[in-house]
Amino acid sequence: MKSFARLTIPYIIWITVLIVIPMLMIVLYAFTKDGTLLSFSFTLDNFLRFFQDAIFPSVLWRSLVIAVVTTIICLLIGYPVAYGIAKMKNHQQATIILLITFPMWINMLVRTYAWRGILSASGLSADMKVYIGMVYNFLPFMILQIHGSLSKMDNSLIQAAYDLGANKLETFKRVVLPLSIPGVLSGITLVFLPAVSSFFIPKLLGGGDFVLIGNLIENYFITTNDWNFGSAISLIMAIVVLVSMYLTKRADKNVGESEDA
């Protein structure tokens, strides 16, 4: 029914006004110096300032390192766990998945705050505390995504691999692993993305002077009120995130192709 197509109009207006225009405003602010919306002048100063001072690129680098390490830890723990769950009987799987989703319903800040108490007497370094907080918050996403792709897998494919003489390891390497890659990829996205921009985990667990790129953005918007520079930092972060996501996807494709060759 073509008339139903009109139901989309309100949302098209909504996303134009509340997603597209606000995004463009970040770009606008990033490329201008303090002025009002009507009188702005183009400048690259905000970006130059970011890259000329050693501190900003080093914070960005540190955020990337922490996000990448968090993602790797989540993958190393998450895959075997998801795999273990997928091997269980259906009703057990449902129970475990429910048990993993349950904590996710409880406010992230509240759960992170809880770790503060537990870790306060532990004597761990700020870095370690932040890692624990990150892995704790984002590991469930990894497990759920990988489990999703493992449990959807057609059992007859695995049976066929066995029938054709593959052993357990070969079956895993050549059938199960390649088929679970979509889940792994969306898991990586769901962990890396919030980890790289997180600013409450470093603040709650790392202490006030543990600064990641998210904290930097927060400071320039809330404390310093330098929105132009804050926008430039956000834009740089958004680009870095998009590029790394793109590279992940491409790396996956390359791996797939070389396997086939």
């Binding site: 029914m1 139903f4 989309t8 995004m23 766990v81 009987k89 509240v110 695995i158 929105w227 972060m237």
Partner: protein, 281 residues
């Protein structure tokens, strides 16, 4: 159904360890919410004082109220708009559908903080005072995408001629929508609404940048406490844990019991429990 013992104990232990990891902080806060001293490391005795402190703390109670209020309104509006948009998109031209889907994915693909500051710049640029209204609008912005992506797949499974058939039989477009299409996609709508509610209930980053003076949700309140130790937060956390448990029990256990009852009545004696063991190596 052969029950081969292929499951090695290591993977089971790993699953159990990860579950323990997930529940440690939850059990910890619940436990320490009954502590008689301020300490977060030493349990000195049972007391309900932090619950009392929480219920008499106006800021916490207001934050709780704001969180629930915003989540309910944002969920209602996003569910309605998201569902109608999804139905509209399923009948739209491909180009419209693709562009809308791409933009719709942006809030989920971008770091949350980018969406948060973009909205803040927008509101302030238009001289809109940050407060309850901007808080609700910003929540709807990130909730609709989740409703849309959970309703769309259900619509794809539908027979595209269903609405036409209903209208050939004399239904108005509204009736076709309300009596034929919507009932078919209810599972998608419900799961979309649930995701929207949790997302809104839990949100910190977008709320933090788009709320005004004196209007805090739970997340913002906890964040502002980052320098201090405030055991009332433990009591608040325990309360949230209780609330979430009740909701989840209501959602999962009750339907299952009902199902089992009707199942038993329907096929007495027949074993309907088809357990498949996964063949993963």
């Amino acid at each position: 159904m052969k029950k081969t013992k292929t499951n090695n104990p290591y993977s089971r232990i790993l699953v159990i360890l990860s579950l323990i990891f997930f529940y440690v902080p939850i059990v910890y806060v619940c436990f320490f919410s009954f502590n008689s001293s301020r300490s977060l490391t030493h349990f000195t005795g049972l007391s309900l004082q932090w619950y009392e402190a929480m219920f008499t703390n106006r800021t916490i109670m207001e934050a709780l109220w704001v969180t629930i209020y915003v989540a309910i309104i944002a969920t209602l509006i996003s569910t309605i708009v998201g569902t109608l948009t999804a139905i509209g998109l399923s009948r739209s031209r491909k180009i419209v559908r693709e562009v809308v889907e791409q933009i719709n994915n942006l809030p989920m693909m971008m770091p949350e903080i980018v969406i948060a500051i973009s909205l803040m710049l927008f509101f302030i640029g238009l001289n809109i005072k940050l407060g309850m209204a901007t808080l609700i609008i910003s929540h709807i912005v990130f909730c609709i995408p989740y409703v849309l992506i959970s309703v769309m797949p259900k619509l794809r499974q539908l027979d595209p001629n269903l609405a036409e058939a209903a209208m050939d039989l004399g239904a108005t477009p509204f009736q076709a929508l309300y009596k034929v299409i919507i009932p078919q996609i209810i599972p998608g709508i419900v799961s979309g609404a649930l995701i929207a509610f949790t997302m809104s209930f839990d949100d910190f980053v977008i709320s933090f940048f788009n709320t005004g003076e004196g209007i805090n949700n739970i997340s913002i309140y906890v964040y502002t406490m980052y320098k201090r130790i405030n055991p009332s937060i433990n009591a608040l956390s325990a309360l949230i844990v209780l609330f979430v448990s009740l909701v989840l029990i209501g959602m999962h256990v009750v339907p299952r019991i009902m199902e089992r009852k009707t199942h038993k009545n329907e096929k007495k004696g027949k074993s309907s429990d088809e357990e498949m063991e996964c063949l993963l190596p």
